[in-house]
């Protein structure tokens, strides 16, 4: 029995080693995105190569999937219904964890690159990246709320599914670019690259892109959180000064 167990373990090791034959060597055009005063969105180039110990396997073909996910937070999705002639929020469903930004780029259709089981395990597709726990009992169609979240976020480019935008040369070199919209939240953006064959993930690489405010943006943001009272007084002082200044200038102009 003992021998059998160790034999199984050894076999497993061999299998894992065989699967890990193809590995990712990654490059990023930048690993920090700085938000300054004239920030208007950004583009990140994700590129890399597949390192192999043996010859290129013939079939099935290699596919590459790149995902970038912003920091997650809980959301409440509300639905309006007509009550007493006006449209009001009636039902609400809580989404446990939804990324503030999520992009999936693939070398072919996502459905061809990844099986359902693998998607479930690695949470690659947009609906899988959103974690939603049960809706209240009175709501039977909770999936329409998740769909609504994806629809609204997709409309503002916060969620992107870019199929076929990863270019793959000689099954070795790959590259894609991810567009980050102007409305970006600060934080650590998890970037994952998957290599798949026949819908199975054969290699995975993870890294992070840091999005942070710099300069005046950083300073003002920090002040507003850490020293809110001072920040409030400063806002008022600027307002009063501007109001007085404009009045004084106009008085001079009228003379």
């Amino acid at each position: 029995m003992r021998i059998l167990t160790s034999l199984c373990a050894a076999l497993l090791l061999v299998v894992t080693a065989a699967q890990a034959k193809e590995e990712i060597v990654l490059g990023l055009s930048k690993d920090t995105v700085s938000i300054n005063t004239n920030f208007d969105g950004s583009e990140i180039l994700v590129f890399g190569a597949v390192k192999r110990t043996g010859p290129i396997p013939e079939n099935p073909p290699l596919q590459v999937i790149v995902t970038v996910a912003g920091p997650s937070e809980a959301k409440t999705i509300r639905r309006k219904e007509k009550r007493f002639g006006i449209w009001v929020n009636v039902d609400a469903v809580e989404i446990d964890q939804a990324p503030s930004f999520y992009a999936v780029a693939t070398s072919t259709l996502l459905g061809l690159s990844l099986t359902e089981t693998e998607d479930q395990r690695h949470k690659v597709s947009i609906p899988r990246a959103i974690r939603s726990v049960g809706a209240p009992d009175n709501i039977t169609d909770s999936e329409t709320f998740t769909e609504a979240l994806i629809r609204i976020k997709s409309a503002s480019n916060q969620y992107q599914l870019n199929e076929g935008t990863v270019s793959l040369d000689e099954q070795t070199l790959f590259r894609t670019s991810i567009k980050l919209p102007a409305a970006l939240t600060e934080g650590e953006y998890d970037t994952r690259i998957f290599l798949t064959r026949g819908g199975e993930v054969i290699s995975k690489y993870e890294t992070s892109i840091y999005v942070r405010k710099v300069g005046m943006e950083r300073w003002l943001f920090a002040l507003s959180r850490e020293n809110a009272f001072l920040y409030g007084l400063m806002s008022l002082a600027i307002a009063i000064a501007a109001g007085w200044g404009a009045s004084a200038i106009f008085t001079v102009l009228r003379r």
Partner: protein, 303 residues
């Protein structure tokens, strides 16, 4: 020129904000309203998160009102005594308003209630003002003298006080109540409340129109400053970059507006304000009645 707002976390066109500030500033100076009831919905429309829009708008109103009130001080059209009485009510109201706001936010109904308030208040006030000023204009054309102020129930209340600048001798209860209701609105809707206060002062308190504008601006400065501090310290939603852009346009606009206002007749001023109030009311009512394109909305955070 795109500019990234540090607190709102969105990127917007700086000239668009300057223009909006200027346009609303002109109206602010002309009518003695802060212009918040126009600006706040406009900010929603260009994609500023509502919480940030409401808080920042309060800050901007401080600037445009301050600029406006200085012009009125020079012409001695500010009733400081009345302003102080209104202010006492206003501060109480603002504190109550923030509590109401936080309660409704948790219920997910804050948008609806704010809009309903707008529709009801703007509808009633706009309608009353419109017909009253229309009558006044007709009377002037026919050469009839304007009707003398009548004594109504308000003059029977206790705690009477003399307001020399306004030429009134009335109880302090009505102004305090007006102040409280305006304070509540200021906190909930991110407006100065001038659109409620100006008509209330004219029709309820019987103050002369020329004094009303300066006095209302005087009160608004303090109530919105108080609201700004409340939002900045509890919700962290005052965006100073957004405020500066809006107020640069706003203060210049307010100066221009004040000068236009002086040249116009009181009835004309009132009827223009009435039309504007009714237009905003109509737009909001329309949005509530017609099925929205997107039935779902996303709010941050769970319960």
């Amino acid at each position: 020129m795109q500019i990234y707002l540090p607190i709102a976390e969105v990127s917007v066109n700086a000239f668009l904000l300057l223009g909006l500030g200027g346009m609303v500033g002109v109206l602010s100076g002309m009518f003695g309203v802060g212009g918040g009831f126009l600006m706040t919905p406009l900010l929603f429309f260009i994609g500023i998160p509502p919480a940030v829009a409401v808080a920042t708008e309060a800050n901007q109103i401080v600037a445009s009102s301050f600029s406006g009130v200085l012009a009125h001080f020079k012409r001695k059209t500010v009733d400081l005594r009345m302003g102080t009485v209104l202010l006492i009510g206003g501060l109480i109201g603002a504190a109550v308003g923030v509590m109401v706001f936080n309660y409704l936010k948790a219920q997910g109904q804050v948008d609806l209630l704010v809009k309903l308030c707008y529709v009801v208040f703007l509808g009633i006030i706009g309608g009353l003002m419109f017909f009253e000023s229309l009558n006044a204009i007709r009377n002037v054309k026919k050469g009839k003298p304007p009707a003398r102020k009548k004594h109504n129930w308000i003059h029977g209340l206790p705690f009477k006080m003399r307001f020399r600048v306004s030429g009134l001798y009335i109880s302090v209860i009505p102004p305090v109540i007006v102040g409280i209701s305006v304070g509540v609105l200021a906190a909930i809707m991110g407006v100065g409340g001038g659109f409620i206060m100006v008509p209330a002062m004219i029709y309820l308190l019987g103050m002369p129109t020329k004094v009303v504008v300066g006095t209302s601006l005087f009160q608004i400065i303090f109530v919105t400053a108080f609201t700004t501090m409340l939002h900045a310290t509890t919700n962290f939603t005052v965006d100073i970059v957004l405020a500066v852009l809006l107020l640069v346009g706003g203060v210049i606009g307010a100066q221009v507006g004040t000068r236009i206002g002086v040249k116009m007749k009181a009835e004309q001023l009132r009827i223009l304000l009435a039309i504007m109030v009714l237009a905003v009311c109509g737009k909001l009512a329309f949005d509530l009645l017609v099925q929205p394109a997107e039935l779902y909305s996303i709010a941050t955070g769970g319960h």
